[in-house]
Symmetry: C2
Subunit: 185 residues, 2 copies
DNA sequence: GACATATATATAAGCGCTTATGTAATGTGT
DNA sequence: ACACATTACATAAGCGCTTATATATATGTC
């Protein structure tokens, strides 16, 4: 029995990220994979506000706040209140964080090469497959596809007109989905 | 900048599962996607122990314990202590849970059709792409690929013999990875 | 300058999992 | 029959996110 897409997705995340986390550890770095998007944001622009980091890392603002808090506790980042706007916090690499950069870059290169090795043993690059799926769902969301399937199904099974119809207007649901896992599908 | 495989994977999970969860809700069902593997296990074999459910659903035993606890609280399942082995708990569908089955099956069919619709707009089925990636990582783990990349890299950048080598024996790491996310890669 | 409103960040709670560990009930060897 | 390990399950804590909401500063209006 097909384990479900969600199961496969989670499994893949674990397979990949477990290895990456281990690699940092065995390189003697106290560093979590979730730090990387923040690091990259700061390399690109320093200092950076929490909001900018969230945007660059494509995570929500609370997630950025949390990750930055962790990284400050680890001594990788420094923060100072924004001088022009007191609500902002200006985040910078600490000396310790900056000193870690060369070793991090080496890890990132290794990770990238491993990714290429993986892609080489696949019919097509994994990131591409995922990107295509995401793009397809942006064109027509999974919810919309379900709505269409529902109407197709109710027509098929009741040539007259049974219950399950539930007129979904079948168009692109505007205020669309935003929630959790996939054990179905 | 490539958001990283992990980000894409998580994003996909949300896209898919948000829609599925919404579908249950709008069908008037108090039912979470994570219940489905448990339901399927019970359809296949009833009564079922926690351990059997965990195995069938391909999750850890504590995850099974938790999900079953939720489902009991929702009134979908009943549990009785095992009569031959007092450590076991025998899990069954409650009447309420059993009554939900027809509507669930309908939801599952719709979900499956939506999945087919998605696959139809992709160069190849998503589950297949994921399966191939997982299979490739079973042949050679991401950690192993990283180790190889590391040695390749250190040879390249130091024709003599610099520091970063870190003899990783480069073979298949037996006591291999088992941890978390992918923001790198 | 007092006011409502908007914006930047922080905090709390939840999700579905995981690992690590605790607690019983069962089986084993002597 | 007793200490001992093994097994089935439960509990606790953590992961990296999310949504919802609170707090503090800024800004615009009168």
């Amino acid at each position: 029995m097909m384990p479900g897409l969600g199961t496969q997705l989670r499994h893949l995340i674990e397979l990949l990220d477990g290895a990456v986390e281990e690699a940092y550890a065995s390189a003697g770095l106290r560093y979590r994979p979730r730090y990387t998007p923040v690091m990259r944001a700061l390399i690109a622009c320093e200092p950076c506000t929490i909001g900018q980091i969230a945007e660059a890392a494509k995570i929500t603002q609370p997630a950025a706040t949390q990750t930055v808090a962790l990284m400050i506790k680890e001594g990788l980042l420094d923060s100072e209140p924004g001088l022009v706007d007191g609500r902002q916090r200006l985040i910078r690499l600490s000396p310790r964080g900056r000193a870690m950069l060369p070793r991090l870059r080496e890890c990132w290169k290794v990770t990238q090469m491993a990714g290429e090795s993986l892609d080489a043993s696949l019919p097509r690059p994994l990131a591409q497959s995922l990107g295509e799926a995401i793009a397809a769902l942006e064109v027509e969301s999974f919810g919309d596809r379900m709505a269409k399937a529902r109407s197709r199904l109710s027509v098929a099974e009741s040539p007259s007109g049974r219950s399950a119809a539930r007129k979904h207007t079948a168009g692109a649901s505007k205020g669309a989905a935003k929630k959790k896992r996939t054990n179905d599908a």
